[in-house]
Structures are given as structure tokens and as C-alpha cells.
Subunit: 281 residues, 2 copies
């Protein structure tokens, strides 16, 4: 089995793994940047190799030597695809940081993206309580599905049951991204003359002054729930208002919520908002 333990040492040294994925004790601040203390000399590489082997020994592989491997987008939480991993696929994923699976039909190892270039860059790997199910948590370079869809899960059973003619193309979206999708649809509609009273989202999308006054107003109301010690349920409700109106602004500017989360992830994995803000005070 050809595994690059040098690459693994680099993985553990990688700046991008710090903050979110490396225990705090192993991070030291150095010129405002976090660096993992992990020398990649031969001794450490041998120790690493032994640790990876121990870890692979702990997985409960099934009678075919496989475990379920789920690839998930670290920013959006979307389940991108699901395959199976054997020992080699898991160790390759850990060392290469590219989501790698074992193809049951072709009986070969395959790295997602090896033909499409849409790799899934793995930031960490999680194992479940039974040690027979694995999550590859990472960032996709492009659409994961071979059909060009963002994820492989775009067929809703309820859609199919209700409507024989359903397109079968509705991503398994969580609440935030369902809302983003709705706002996006309103945006498309807002360019077409509509009969009747326009929806609130369409009004916001076509009136920048209204949208901005609402965002400032809702941010103020959120603050007042703290300042005036209002009921806690008001805070959740006002934050929902802030989020919804700000998401309309994002849509207006063609910014995806995923882009915002990427900014947050990168900030924290570098010097962190906290340091940035402290320095500027």
C-alpha cells in the first residue's frame, strides 16, 4: 500500500487544518498565524504510520472489508455523495486529503475528481460510534454528481409521490439553503411583470432603499432584545428576520451563503476574526 506519510505529516502541519481541526494544544501563535507543532522527521513519520494502522484496525470493516463513507460539504452541510471505503481508500483519503472510495462494481480504488477534476478536499474524517460508518468532511472543487448536479441527492420521494410529472430535480436542501433557493426564484420572477401584489421578497429585491432600511431596522431590533432584556424567544425571531433580509441582499448581489461561510472558515483558519478585530482596536 503506497501511502505518503510525508504528505500526512504535511496534512497535520497544514495551516488550513488548524483552528477547526487541530486540538488547540497543538497550535501555537507565531507572527499572528497558527502553526501546528509537528516536525516531519523520520521518527515522527514512522509513529504516524503506526497510528494510522492502529486507526484502520479499529474500524469495523464488513465481511467484504468495506465501511460506508459519506462525503459532506463542510460549509453548507450538504451530503455530497455516499460510497464505500476499504482500508486503502480510507488511508489514501487521510494522507492525500482527497475523498477516495472503493468501487464495488469495478473492484478498484477511485478518487472522486480523478476524471472530472471535481475533487472533494477533505479537512477531517469522522467515524461513528459503531466504527463502521465514516464522514469525509470537506470542500468540493465543483459539482459532485456525475450528472453535473451539486450533490447526488436530487430526487425527492414526496415530489415523486405527489406528482408523476415532477422533474426529479430538487436538491436535498437544509432550511437555510431552501430559503436561499426560494429567494433566488423570487429574484428570477422579479424580472417578469407579474399580476397582483408582489411578494414581500420581490418588493425587497426591487427596492434597495426598502431592503437596506429593513436590514438596519432588524439589526436594531435584534440588539434591543439584549438591551431591553426581552424574552429569549424574541432574539431567535429577530435573528431570523436579520438573516432573511440579509439573505435577500446576498441574492441581489449574487453572493451565495456558502461564500459567506467560506470567508468565516478561512478567517478562523488563518488568524481568526478575534485577532483581526483585536489588532484593529
Amino acid at each position: 500500500m503506497a501511502i505518503s506519510y510525508n504528505a500526512l505529516a504535511q496534512t497535520l502541519q497544514g495551516r488550513s487544518t488548524c483552528f477547526f481541526f487541530v486540538p488547540k494544544a497543538l497550535c501555537i501563535k507565531q507572527r499572528s498565524r497558527s502553526t501546528v507543532v509537528f516536525a516531519s522527521n523520520d521518527k515522527n513519520i514512522i509513529a504516524l504510520q503506526s497510528k494510522v494502522d492502529n486507526l484502520l484496525d479499529r474500524i469495523k470493516w464488513d465481511e467484504k472489508g468495506l465501511a460506508v463513507a459519506i462525503a459532506q460539504n463542510v460549509d453548507t452541510g450538504a451530503v455530497l455523495m455516499q460510497g464505500f471505503a476499504n482500508r486503502e481508500a480510507l488511508s489514501t483519503t487521510i494522507t492525500s486529503r482527497k475523498a477516495t472510495f472503493f468501487s464495488r462494481s469495478r473492484s478498484t480504488l477511485w478518487t472522486k475528481g480523478e476524471t472530472s477534476n471535481n475533487f472533494i478536499n477533505v479537512l477531517d474524517v469522522y467515524i461513528d460510534c459503531d466504527r463502521d460508518s465514516i464522514i469525509y468532511l470537506g470542500t468540493p472543487d465543483g459539482p459532485t454528481c456525475h450528472t453535473g448536479a451539486e450533490t447526488c441527492y436530487y430526487t425527492s420521494v414526496l415530489d415523486q409521490l405527489i406528482d408523476d410529472e415532477a422533474s426529479g430535480e430538487k436538491l436535498a436542501s437544509t432550511t437555510l439553503y431552501s430559503l436561499e433557493s426560494i429567494i433566488s426564484k423570487r429574484k428570477e420572477e422579479s424580472t417578469v411583470p407579474q399580476e397582483g401584489k408582489p411578494s414581500w421578497t420581490r418588493r425587497l429585491l426591487t427596492d434597495d432603499a426598502l431592503l437596506c432600511s429593513k436590514i438596519r431596522e432588524e439589526a436594531d431590533e435584534l440588539c434591543r432584545t439584549l438591551e431591553d432584556k426581552e424574552e429569549v424567544s424574541r432574539t431567535a425571531s429577530e435573528m431570523a428576520d436579520v438573516l432573511y433580509h440579509a439573505m435577500v441582499l446576498l441574492s441581489k448581489r449574487d453572493v451565495k451563503f456558502e461564500d459567506v461561510l467560506e470567508v468565516l472558515r478561512k478567517r478562523f483558519s488563518q488568524s481568526g476574526i478575534e485577532e483581526k478585530q483585536s489588532r484593529s482596536k
Copy 2:
């Protein structure tokens, strides 16, 4: 196979399935509430039964009659657990709206929560492009893992590789919830006297006036990216600032981001923010 198609008809009629999970064509507005047009008479129930059977026939069950079934939290996106489904488990999940699996070790059907009462209430079911992998998208009544953890995925491979003494208890969190967790840790620290300059988050957590002035300021800066037609990348960056500071306020008030998403989901599944806002204008 004992399946309640009456229950399924109710599922499809259920108000909570509307907006997010039912094609728009099947929703009509009635007294400001969305109602699915789906009469549950005998004829429709027989038609439904046939549709469910057709759908079950389309799944590529493996040689043991199983497919992978992943339960995901619709609000947070967290992968809660992974099991396997056979025909009966999937049809029971569709009709009962409780995530149901087939236990390979006990060779029986089991509904998550049947002993713990921590059911996973399924809002929709998705099938992947290969039709051999299923997502149950829903809301958990409580912790999903039998250990009491929120999800079954709390063992980080990188943690284990770096530190033999790692507690092994770090949930597979996406960016937003990693940030929430960091803020929460700063909040715990903020009650203990610390040496040196406090972090920015700790300063915000202990100074309501500073926190609220920052939230108002960041909301204003977000608006100005639209008003002043600034570069689009500024919008993502300012939204990240709004989100981070607002999340500090949520933490301060013991409100989880999940609670905010629940508010948004419920609003939209009832009359929707848009209608609510339109009525108030």
C-alpha cells in the same frame, strides 16, 4: 406489509410538508395559509399505494435487499446517523414520517426512538442518482446517538492521529456550528479571570454596548456594499461580520443557531415571511 396509506395521505396533506417539500403547483392559498390539494378518499389511497410500490421497485436494493439510509438534521445539516433500509423500512418511514431502518445484526425493522423516544421526524426522503442511497431529512426529538451525543459522528480521525489523549468527543461540525462552538467556549472562559488581553469574542460577550454597536455598524456596512455598489467580495465579507457578531449575541442569550433556523422553517411552512410582511404593510 402493514402500511397506513391513510397516514401517508395525511403526510402529503400535512401543512408542515408544504412550502419546502411539496411542489408549488399543488399548493393553493386559502385564507393566507397554504393547503395541499390532495383528497384522501379510497381511490387516491389506492393510487398512492401503487405509487409507493413503484417507487420501492425503482430502488437498487443490494443482494441482501438493503440500501444505505442516512438521517440528516434539516435545520443544521448534521448527519445524525447512518443505517440501512429495506423495502419495509423505507415504506414505513414514508408513511409514518419516523426514520426507520433495518437492523442487520437483529434482522428486524427498528424505528429510531422506539426505546429512547428520540424519534427523527422525517420531512422528506431523497434518493441519490444511483438509486441505492437514501437520505431521511428531518428534525430529531433529542440526541440521536445511543451515547447521548447529538449525532453518532463524534470521533475525529485527525484528533486521534495527532493526540493519543484526544477525548474523541468532537462532533463532525460544519463551519457555522464550529464557529458557534468556539463562541460558546469563549463564553465559558469569560466567567473565569484570564491573564493578558481578552479575545475579541470575550470582550463582546462581556460588553453589551460594544456588542450592539458592532452589530448595528456591521449591518450598516453590509447595506453600504449595496448602496455604494462596492465590490461583491465586500458583501460576503461584511455578511460574515454581521453573522459572527449576531452569533455572539445569540450565545449571550443562550439561543442556538438551530433555534433561529427552526423559526424560519416554521414561518415559511405556515404562511411564510412574505405573506406575514405583506399583511403588515
